[in-house]
């Protein structure tokens, strides 16, 4: 291959990569563009026009509209991510290091929870939550996220703990540590990377969840951010520039986590795919 041809090839290669970068950024650009325009400039026929001046009022008006739901999402997501990661670490430890009868079968049965279409369990879920007086409450939704987050967190921790050599457990056992001793003194201190991956993954998933939120917590004042955004954008009474600003506020936490901790985010992404 001649040098000129190789050069042309590289130019085409980067051209395609830049084209796709534009494709992925276009909807984000559209959101940001619209959110910085006043309402009289967001009509359909001037959709692509740049704002004549930076208009910040969409933001100051959108924030009070969704702030309660933003804090609801924080109240739901942070405890649920912490608890489901902690429980996942215990279960991952058990399924990696303490084989018992049918442990692999039980683990697979749990993993099905990752792919479960929730429509197949929503009715009993609502019945049980109503029965224990947790339906329609933030603790109720936290409980639901903890339970349905456990399959993926158990998988993340199990994949991590199987790589820890048996010798370390045996050393702990010689020192007189039992089941929890080994977990607490040996496994937990080295599990920080797995914790980071599980926490980020759970934070993103729970923050972005809509289905469980809208079923368990549809009360507008308690609803999470995704449900609020869906309510806002479903009405014609709220201006488009406010809708877009609110949508950006809804996306900001997970996007920030992704941009700051991208490597750990990618590890979680790959952990969800068992093979690859």
């Amino acid at each position: 291959m001649s040098l000129a041809m190789r050069h042309t090839g590289r130019v085409v290669l980067y051209g395609v990569l830049i084209f796709f970068a534009a494709y992925y950024l276009l909807p984000v650009y559209m959101l940001v563009l619209t959110a910085f325009k006043p309402f009289d400039r967001v009509s359909v026929d001037q959709m692509w026009n740049l704002p004549t001046s930076v208009y910040l009022e969409s933001w100051t008006r959108a924030w009070p509209l969704v702030a309660p739901n933003f804090w609801n999402s924080v109240l739901i997501t942070v405890p649920a991510a912490l608890i489901s990661s902690f429980i996942g670490s215990l279960n991952g430890y058990v399924f990696a290091k303490w084989k018992f009868r049918y442990s692999n079968l039980i683990f697979m049965l749990i993993l099905f929870g990752i792919f479960l279409p929730y429509q197949g369990i929503l009715i009993p879920l609502v019945q049980v939550l109503t029965f224990v007086h947790l339906y329609g409450s933030i603790p109720g939704l936290i409980l639901v996220h903890c339970v349905f987050g456990m399959p993926i967190t158990a998988l993340i921790f199990r994949s991590y703990f199987v790589t820890i050599p048996r010798d370390m457990l045996d050393a702990g056992r010689i020192d007189g540590a039992g089941f929890f001793g080994i977990y607490w003194w040996i496994m937990l201190p080295i599990a920080a990377p797995a914790f980071a991956v599980a926490l980020i993954w759970q934070f993103t998933n729970i923050w972005n969840d809509f289905l469980l939120g809208v079923v368990v917590l549809s009360n507008p004042s308690l609803a999470p951010m995704t449900v609020a955004i869906n309510n806002i954008t479903g009405t014609f009474s709220i201006e488009w520039n406010l809708q877009m600003a609110a949508a950006i506020l809804a996306a900001a936490p997970t996007v920030l986590v992704y941009l700051l901790l991208g490597r750990l985010f990618m590890r979680g992404l790959l952990a969800g795919a068992l093979k690859g």
Partner: protein
């Protein structure tokens, strides 16, 4: 802590599935629970409901278009990024970014972009691709394809990341050996790399398939059922039937059908990864 949490998950999944199955066989189609046995009547009615048949067709059409876009774009981008690209991390970060954004926000953005009289249509007009202009989700014939474009925007970068990890997992010696044997870059991918990452394709198809089956957030944010149920899905139908019309048994029947499809996808997948789990 362990036994109870494992038990809770098993109950929340399997006991609930059994209970959903039971509800689908009784006549609880009103706000007050009614456990009168009616056998398969709810299923019979479901398969005579035009909306449900449209939903099944929508799911099929969606998954074909969604998987084609994700696997196609994902594989091409992964191969391109595998060419020792300057700024690889920069491109990769942009490509996977939509995966960090919720389907609700994705729906808001694409609803705006796919406005029947503006948005993408303006771009096509500006670059002379007028024949691509259409009414997107407002067109009953292609509404679900419009949804698949928004969904693929979210998930094609994710698929790229799976493929890229697969390509990076191929031992460097294989690539060197191929080059020494005179294989071109194209031949390396065609005859060595792509066959070696077949498991990634399989995994991605299962994951994307279950996403197609569960499609709910995106139609909820973009269009709802759409014109003539053009963008309706079984998940959306189930939600409205159960939680807005209080026809619980009818909703449970939709849930059971969705579970059957999900099990059909997951069991072969689990059997194929069984050895990896059991190591």
């Amino acid at each position: 802590m362990i036994a109870p949490s494992v038990l809770a998950v098993l109950v929340f999944i399997y006991a609930f599935i059994l209970w959903t199955g039971f509800i689908s066989l009784v006549n609880w189609n009103d706000i007050t629970p009614n456990y009168t046995w009616v056998g398969l009547q709810n299923f019979g009615r479901l398969f005579q409901t035009p909306r449900f048949l449209i939903d099944i067709r929508n799911t099929a059409v969606f998954s074909v278009f969604f998987l084609t876009q994700c696997l196609g774009i994902g594989l091409v981008l992964a191969i391109l990024l595998d060419q020792r690209i300057r700024g690889e991390a920069f491109f990769r970060t942009i490509y996977v970014l939509p995966f960090a954004i919720s389907a609700i926000v994705t729906g808001v953005a694409w609803k705006w972009l796919m406005n029947p009289s503006a948005g993408l249509n303006d771009i096509f007009d500006a670059v002379g691709l007028d024949f691509l202009q259409n009414r997107w989700y407002a067109d009953p014939n292609i509404g679900i394809i419009a949804t698949s474009i928004a969904a693929a925007w979210q998930m094609s970068g994710y698929t790229m990341a799976l493929y890229l990890a697969g390509l990076r997992g191929i031992p460097g010696e294989l690539r060197d050996a191929a080059r020494i044997d005179g294989a071109s870059g194209v031949q390396y991918y065609r005859f060595i790399a792509i066959p070696l990452i077949t498991p990634v394709t399989f995994t991605a198809m299962i994951i994307l398939g279950t996403i197609s089956l569960r499609l709910f957030d995106l139609p909820a944010a973009m269009t709802g059922s759409g014109p003539a149920f053009a963008t309706d899905t079984p998940a959306f139908f189930m939600f409205q039937t159960t939680f807005q019309q209080y026809r619980y048994s009818q909703g449970a029947a939709i849930g059971v059908i969705m579970l059957i499809f999900a099990i059909g996808l997951i069991v072969p997948y689990f059997l194929s990864v069984k050895d990896e789990i059991e190591r």
